[in-house]
Each structure stands twice: as structure tokens, then as C-alpha cells.
Symmetry: C2
Amino acid sequence: MEVRVNLLPRLLNEEADVAVVIDVLRATSTMTAALHFGAKKIVPVLSVEEAKKYREDNFEVLTVGERGSKKIDGFDLGNSPRELSEEMIEGKELVITTTNGTVAVSKSKRARKVILASFLNLGSVVRLLKRESGRIELQCAGTDGDPSLEDTLLAGALVSQLEIGHINDSCRISSVLYEAVKDNLESFILENGVHAKRLVSLGFFEDVGFCAKINLYDLVPLWRDGGFVRG
Amino acid sequence: MEVRVNLLPRLLNEEADVAVVIDVLRATSTMTAALHFGAKKIVPVLSVEEAKKYREDNFEVLTVGERGSKKIDGFDLGNSPRELSEEMIEGKELVITTTNGTVAVSKSKRARKVILASFLNLGSVVRLLKRESGRIELQCAGTDGDPSLEDTLLAGALVSQLEIGHINDSCRISSVLYEAVKDNLESFILENGVHAKRLVSLGFFEDVGFCAKINLYDLVPLWRDGGFVRG
């Protein structure tokens, strides 16, 4: 078993045994929270048009997503885990489109198994990965084509806790980073992350703190038949 | 004045005020050493054929470079700073082609000023950059399309010592990494770097230690009229 960290998502094929998609702020945190609150399935799509079409073609679908970090006009929900509740979500199917996260999902789909990771479900993801074999690809979404601090930190946390062989240098880059700042994760991200600062400036201060919480939920979103379900 | 770290080289244009090309193992270390030993000019080219053509067309040119980390057949020198000496190099023009470093140079050429950095000339590069204004782009060569530990460490050392504004998260990723391991730089690179391990397996153990030496040379290679000269 060995791990590769991709600080930006690479296009994977069937040679990847497990793809772990990471978009801490906020797509994979939001999708993890949605499954915690009982969503039946979450379908990620690349465009606003695809999401609207999906809602038209299917029964009782909630539209979720953002552009420029803001809720999309006409959508039911933005890309915020804190907007969600059991009352709103339970038993529903969600279709979601975001700027970086759903792109990372799209590049990961051909792997043998595809899961989602956030700090919210870090422990559950580690437990699942320890039962796997072969090559694990940690697919950081990044922000607008540049590696992001918070995704690199989560990749580093996974590398640290997995204690398996490293395929590339980004494994060590991310794990040393995580070990250096793990005791002040939330404040480190808030003070230094470009994306975190942008979210704060748009009024999403509490989202950043929420997405830095570790092991709030005990579940792993798993790709099955075109969407993520509770694994 | 602000800085951006590119963990892999991005194609720059005239909006970049200073491009700092980084390929610690070993292209920018070798070119810095060559200018220290009195090379008149170093011309980086992308292919072996271009290097041979350049030697045919010019008087007294030494061919330098590697493919798969090994000296190229028919070339005068490999890509090793430890192969060089004043006797061999002084007053000569060099043409060089390497797997990653000369590609990073090629992507940086359109910046207003282009320089080379290695641990060997870290202090000189910092002093030069502190006198500049505008946007500095740290262009890490990486290894075969993946960020490399040693280039990220040098970028982090520059970010730490410059103490200026950060454009992207890779600034903080690299500076925290550097601060965490700077007291054991050589052993950290030897134990963890994919490229360093490959060099050791090919018999270049001492090259890795040499390229981790800080401030051995007091000069900055500067791009002028198609090649690097002592700035």
C-alpha cells in the first residue's frame, strides 16, 4: 500500500485503487455534512446548467452549489455545511456544482474506488484507507488552479496517520506542514489561507472554523452509480 | 513587493517583475557553480540536438547536461556542480540542457528580470530580491511534473527571509516546511526526497550534500542576451 499526494487534482485512471477527493473549503465538507444529515445521494456536476437540468429530470432534487463562493441564483442551498439540517435534507437527493471540488471529483471518477475526505470525517477516512490495498491518490482540489493550504493540510494529516510508503515528495511536504501546525489548525488556516480569507470577507467566517473541526461525523462518502452515498 | 511560489513552473509573462528559477538538484546549483568558476556565459537549451548545434556554431563552447540524471553521450560535462573547476571552466561559454531545470528557465524568460537560485547562493539571492520591487515569482522546476522537496524547501527559505506579502498559499506551505526542517536540511533531503534518493542510487550521494550547502558562493546568475552571466 502506498500513497501519492496531488496538490492539484490529476486525471486518474483505473490504475488508482482509491481516489480520495479533498476540498476542505468547502465542497467535501458540505457533501460529508449532507450525508450525515441523511441525504440519499449527492450528484456532483460541473456546470450550473447541468444541475438545473438534473433537477428538471428528477423528482424532489435539491440544488446546491456556489460560484465565486456565493449561492447560485435559483439554487436551494449554497456550498456551506452550516446551512444544512436533517429537516431540510433527510431522504433527499442533492445535485451540487462548485468551482473547484466538483472538478476534482470529475478527474477522480475512473479510480477503482472514490471517496470524499474533510476534517469533519478524517478519522473515518483513515480507518477505511487502512483496510484498502494498492495505490491511494489524495486529490486536493486547490483553489483556482493553485494548491491550497487547507487541502494540503488535510492531505498531510492523512499521510501522517496512514504511515505507508510515499510515491512522491508532496506526501512529505504536506505531512511536515500538518505536523508543524496541527495544534492551531483553525487559526493557522484563518490567518494564512487565501481562500479562507476570501470566505471571511464574504461573511463565511464561521464556515472556516466549522470545516477545521476534526471528526465531527463518522461516515465516508462513497461513489456509487453516479453519485456519493453513505459508505 | 509581493511573492508567489509556483511549486511547478508556470508560463510567465512581462507582468512578472522577477522570476527566480529553482532547481536545487541540480541545474541551478550547477549553473551557479559554473559562474563561480569563471564561466563567461551559460546558455540553457531544451534539447540535446540544440546543445550540439550550438557547439558547432560557436567557438570554444562546453556542452553540459543530463538525461535520466546521467551525463549525455558526447557531452563535455554532466549536470554536477562537483565536476566543475576553474581550470576547466574559466572564460568559457557553456551550453546546458537538463530534464527539468532548463524547462523552468524556458517558462520564465519573459519576466522583466530572470535569476537563478540554489542553496549555494541563497544569501546573495535574498540581498538582490530585497532591492527589487513588484512581483517576484519563485519558479520551482520540480521533478518530472511533480513538486520536489528540495525546490519547495529553497522557495520556503526565500519566502521566510524576504518577509513580504504572499500572493498564494504555496508561500506558506513552503516556508513552514523550511522552518520545520532547516536545522537538518541535508539529512532531511537525503532521507525523504525522491530525486535525492535516485541520485544516491546512481552514485551521486555527494552531489546531494553539496547542493544542500548554504551560501558557498556569493553571486547571482542573471539572464542577459540569451544566457546567464554573473549578475
